[in-house]
């Protein structure tokens, strides 16, 4: 070794010995390294992930010392047999072999079986085939998708629209694309199951307010405002959302959109409106609840709708500002990971929109028929009609409920009797996993614009008669 280097090392050792605290410190560090080498990886328990009382109860309820699945006989005994539909669903439906008038399908504009739509579908099948075999980001975007998105944005008066391939998954993907863990969502307690799953998937804190009760919502918003004042740094990074439906699937009521927009600007909360039942129903041109209340659509952050109801197609769409839609194309689960909408359904939706634009009086006619039918059914004794007066989708409940099981039996009885007499209606199905488990059972009626007044009067007579008979039978038993 060089003499200079040896001299430097010697010098270094000399100065080391003069500063013993330094050497001791380095010794401790070497011991720390040895400790590191011999320590095993382990996880520390999450201290932030405190389970709420509800989650603890859910986990406790989940544990059951029973077989993995209940015996088949028990499950079969609790479910009712399916009612089998034959042939096309339109104004008439062949259900369980009975030819009935269709008051169950949400075919509001009567586009199922429309000749123009069917021709367009045939052309699309010849042009594109049937499926797309790929998500939008992976060779699944066809020109007809872009055309439909443009047409929808133009129809609704929004900046951009995004299409999904499954109506249920539309709102399920749209909400978690924006609301993440740590955010707060104020949702109506009667939102449909799809919205509930979207809220659950977002992993945000969900605050339910009483159905359509704007005072309750304002209370909850004020409470949140108070909490925000105590911790402004946290409030600055927590995003707040409100999720409501235009016409609620579970009750047929309309939301109070002017009040909601007022709250949006007063409490700085983003507004999402789910318009599956109000798109193609409300408003002068069928643009939904925003047109109905004369509120510019830019005031609503995201309008989510399902093309499976009024447009009689498939899938769903959302529309909003450019930057809002762009975010969905990157992080909405149903858009990124699901195969895109079959071109034939996109073609059907396009044709449906064209027909709606050419006949704008169809929406007023639909609402007029809906209110006519509602007035006919209001007079039935023992039945309460729930829903916005002009909504073509409304509910019939028992006026004096007995027990949930008996009410459900009664309603199924009414449905069976109506089916035998040529009117097809349905009990609104709910799953056991819904948030609001004590929602009263009801029959959901859907009015199509194809139904003539004579037809509606006859249907009202049949339903009235069926209800009377069902009551008589219940009194006997």
């Amino acid at each position: 070794m060089d003499v200079d280097k040896l001299w430097i090392v010697n010098e270094a050792i000399q100065s080391a010995l003069q500063t013993p605290y330094h050497v001791i410190f380095e010794g401790l560090l070497v011991i720390w390294i040895l400790r590191l080498i011999f320590s095993k990886p382990h996880k520390i328990p999450d201290k932030e992930e405190k389970l709420t009382a509800k989650e603890k109860k859910e986990l406790v309820d989940l544990w059951k010392p029973e077989p993995l699945a209940p015996p088949v006989e028990k499950t079969l005994a609790e479910t009712r047999p399916y009612r089998l539909v034959n042939g096309q669903v339109g104004k008439n439906i062949v259900i369980n072999g009975h030819k009935c008038k269709n008051f169950a399908s949400l075919n509001f504009l009567g586009l199922v079986g429309n000749k123009r739509v069917d021709d367009k579908i045939e052309k699309c099948i010849q042009n594109y085939g049937v499926g797309t075999c790929g998500p939008r980001t992976f060779y699944g975007t066809f020109d007809i998708h872009l055309e439909l998105e443009k047409k929808l944005a133009e129809f609704m008066g929004a900046e951009e629209a995004v299409i999904y391939s499954y109506g249920f998954a539309t709102v399920l993907s749209a909400i978690p694309a924006y609301a993440k863990k740590g955010d707060i969502i104020f949702a109506d307690e009667a939102v449909s199951f799809a919205v509930q799953k979207g809220l659950q998937g977002s992993r945000s804190k969900v605050v339910y307010f009483k159905h359509n009760d704007m005072d309750d919502l304002e209370d909850k918003l004020k409470q949140q405002e108070k909490m925000d004042k105590k911790d402004p740094k946290k409030a600055a990074v927590v995003r707040k959302f409100m999720v409501v439906e235009g016409i609620y699937m579970n009750s047929g009521q309309i939301c109070d959109l002017p009040k909601l927009v007022e709250f949006k600007y007063k409490y700085k909360v983003r507004l999402f409106v789910e318009e599956s039942l109000s798109f193609g129903v409300l408003g002068k041109h069928g643009r939904g609840v925003t047109e109905h209340f004369n509120i510019p659509i830019s005031k609503v952050d995201l309008v989510i709708a399902c093309m499976e109801n009024s447009l009689a197609s498939g899938g769903g769409f959302t529309c909003g500002r450019h930057y809002v839609a762009g975010s969905q194309r990157l992080s909405a689960v149903g858009y990124v990971f699901s195969v895109s909408l079959p071109p034939l359904l996109a073609g059907a939706a396009l044709e449906g929109l064209k027909i709606s634009e050419e006949n704008p009086e169809i929406f007023a006619r639909l609402r007029q028929k809906a209110s006519f039918f509602q007035n006919l059914l209001k007079g039935i004794k023992g039945i309460k009609l729930v829903g916005y007066p002009e909504s073509p989708c409304f509910h019939l409940r028992r006026l004096h409920p007995v027990t949930p099981e008996k009410d459900l039996e009664f309603l199924h009885d009414v449905v069976d009797k109506c089916e035998k007499n040529g009117i097809c209606i349905t009990v609104a199905t709910r799953t056991k996993a819904e948030v609001l488990s004590e929602w009263p059972a009801s029959i959901r009626i859907a009015v199509s614009v194809q139904m003539s007044e004579k037809c509606l009067k006859e249907a009202a007579k049949v339903i009235c008669h069926a209800v009377k008979e069902a009551f008589a039978e219940q009194r006997k038993s």
Binding site: L29, S39, P41, I44
Partner: protein
Amino acid sequence: MHTGTTNQVANPNTVVWNSPGIWITYLLTTGFMHLILLSMPWFTTSVSWTLTNVLHGVCMYFFLHTIKGTPFETSDQGKYRYSTHWEQIDSGTQFTAARKFFMTTPIVLYILASFYSMYDFTHFVVNTLVLLLSLLPKLPQLHGVRIFGINKY
């Protein structure tokens, strides 16, 4: 992160320090930075070594313990939105290989820096402070801790 049909994790930040070749890259980068400092004629050997240690420590503190969340969209609904990169490594598991590596490099640099600065007192103070800045936030007792609410949100 959706990057096609490759093998994916929800948050790539959790596994990046286990990728092949990344430790060597890190050491070479630090070594390269040291060589640049060493080649400046106005820095003595002691100063350049201490400066390497300081720069390394400050950069490590900034990138591992100050910046939170991810610069890209993750598919875990914002689970690591308020976590620093150190807390994200290996999803919070303590004493994994990557973490041991990161705890060892400041110590090795410290020993080298104090040797080449001839155990001078000023250099000792500076190097020790920087070492504490590098090591203390990595202790498992301080996982997720935000003192005085600094850097909490």
